[in-house]
Symmetry: C2
Subunit: 335 residues, 2 copies
């Protein structure tokens, strides 16, 4: 593992993104979000992905010149065409827009269509929570899960995230697949069997064989109910916003598809939390975390650092492989 | 099992509700919703519950004179004080209100606090779907689930429902507990062990013993992720709307608590589906159900009859016990 400061990591990632043609402001916003994932210890959605973004930005799969084009503008709902831009800065802008509109109207939503991967979805609910809003976010991606009982992938990991301005904040951030592909890869490497309910063979048969699962499909969390939740996520993104449903979204990791725009969509909802109370009592926002703790549990997201509290001096760890790739790309792009 | 027509069942249920003091219009709206559950084959949320509602209406736990008092009125968000009224007509009115506001603003939400049980949550998303809207509903109830790793119940079954106006409609309708208590009771009666992941002992230890589970707690679907989703549902209802969090909500089935208002809250979101498309293409709403079927799966909710298609001549089955209780209540209330 290599260690570097958050400040250095953001500077490096920004420079690399700028070198592909992305504007500095969008590049830095995206870099901050990418590095925040590493700061959270979610390396899988952090700098590890940067080389793939860079590859796509150069190959045409992600458009460095993209703007957010407003295509629908109702008082509480805006839909933007992301023009195949990088998902990070686009979803952040969408969340800011939803937040502003929610403060006026009580609730507001923003959809971004024709976008790309946005990293860890949980990142985008924090700014809303920090303004006293409930934030909910959905996204889609390449298909990795079959319908329940089915035999072909049609759903992405169907991630959803939500933040509630309790004290401390409640942060829900999950894929509706039972586990991430990385967890299956680790079992395959160790030669261990999977837990039941994690994966299917490529024919859609439940399997405990990690190697079969790697060429197969992920299973939804909790069986048929998780499938239904994944369908809701896919409906609110790929089906309703579009342009692409999960089954038509190119794989980000496939080098031969780097020139193909992914057509990914994101959907974010902001709600003015204070306005919801029926009795004007807001103390339940303080009490709920206590209730969870007193019952012997842990508030979802309580292990996460508030992005507002991440400083440039914080230190992140990246694998040697990721460090090498970033070094390779720095040479390639003349940074 | 006894059989009766939907028309007769609605007439009977309406008369019984009116006899407790509930206005005819509210009584009939509620009766239709209750009987629709039986028509769907979800007897557990249908006429089986009516005696408990009647008991509470007479004892004071549900207020027959309740109105919906508007306490927050923003362009896209309304919150009503349900004045301890029956949840059915109240959530229906909330869904209608959310639908009207969503048609103007793109998205809208309505919260109802200080309400009571509303039956099957899936009922309330259909009218929105039938108007071309996405409908999403959340509710709370008495605590039956611990936090993940915890040892005291603090979450209700935390139900959520969603309808998407695909052709045919996609209907998600689920409790975020792994299974319903009734399924555990059936295992206990049969002397069969539970599946792993269904339940905890009253100390919070995972158990396969159905009898221990019946005096214990339900487990969330899919483990810790299901717990997080349940927390989101509870946050959007009990915590934010209130007045009661799940842990403070009296049990509907406990006769000695029939005089205690439950303080239940519901939250519904409506979204103008047509407005979400980034490319003006609405054909994905037709294609998605085909994609599911072609992949060997089943669209969530495809087994459900559209409430608009339920006719008075349709026949429902109720258990002999439910038939007897309704007959008993008819005598008691002089119907």
């Amino acid at each position: 593992m290599a260690q570097l400061s958050v400040g250095d990591a953001i500077e490096k990632a920004t420079a690399l993104l700028v070198a592909t043609g992305l504007g500095r402001e969008k590049a830095e916003a995206s870099a901050r979000l990418i590095v925040a994932s590493d700061r959270w210890g979610i390396g899988s959605h952090g700098l590890m992905r940067l080389p793939f973004y860079l590859d796509r930005l150069l190959a045409g799969g992600i458009n460095p010149q993209a703007t957010m084009k407003l295509v629908t503008d109702l008082p509480s709902l805006a839909v933007f065409d992301g023009e195949n831009g990088l998902g990070h800065w686009q979803l952040q802008m969408a969340a800011d827009e939803a937040a502003s509109r929610a403060k006026v109207n009580g609730i507001a939503a923003v959809g971004v269509g024709r976008s790309a991967h946005c990293g860890a979805l949980g990142l985008y609910v924090w700014p809303m929570v920090n303004q006293g809003l409930v934030g909910i976010a959905f996204s889609t991606g390449p298909a990795v899960m079959p319908p329940w009982g089915g035999n072909e992938p049609i759903l992405s990991t169907s991630p959803m995230a939500a933040g509630i301005p309790t004290t401390p904040p409640t942060i829900v951030d999950l894929a509706t697949s039972a586990v991430a592909r990385g967890k299956i890869a680790a079992k395959a490497q160790a030669g261990d069997p999977l837990d039941p309910g994690w994966a299917f063979t490529k024919e859609g048969v439940p399997t405990l064989d990690a190697k079969e699962a790697l060429v197969g499909m992920l299973a939804p969390l909790g069986g048929v109910k998780g499938y239904a939740i994944a369908v809701l996520v896919e409906s609110l993104t790929g089906v309703l916003i579009g342009p692409s449903m999960a089954k038509d979204i190119p794989d980000m990791f496939a080098a031969d598809q780097a020139a193909l725009p992914q057509g990914i969509s994101h959907f974010v909802i902001a709600i003015d939390a204070e306005k919801l109370s029926v009795d004007g009592d807001h103390s339940r926002l303080d009490k709920f975390p206590e209730v969870v703790t007193e019952a012997g549990g842990r508030l979802p997201g309580s292990g996460r650092v508030n992005p507002d509290d991440i400083t440039d001096a914080d230190v992140i760890s990246i694998t040697d492989q990721v460090a090498e790739q970033i070094s390779h790309w720095s040479t390639k792009l003349g940074i």
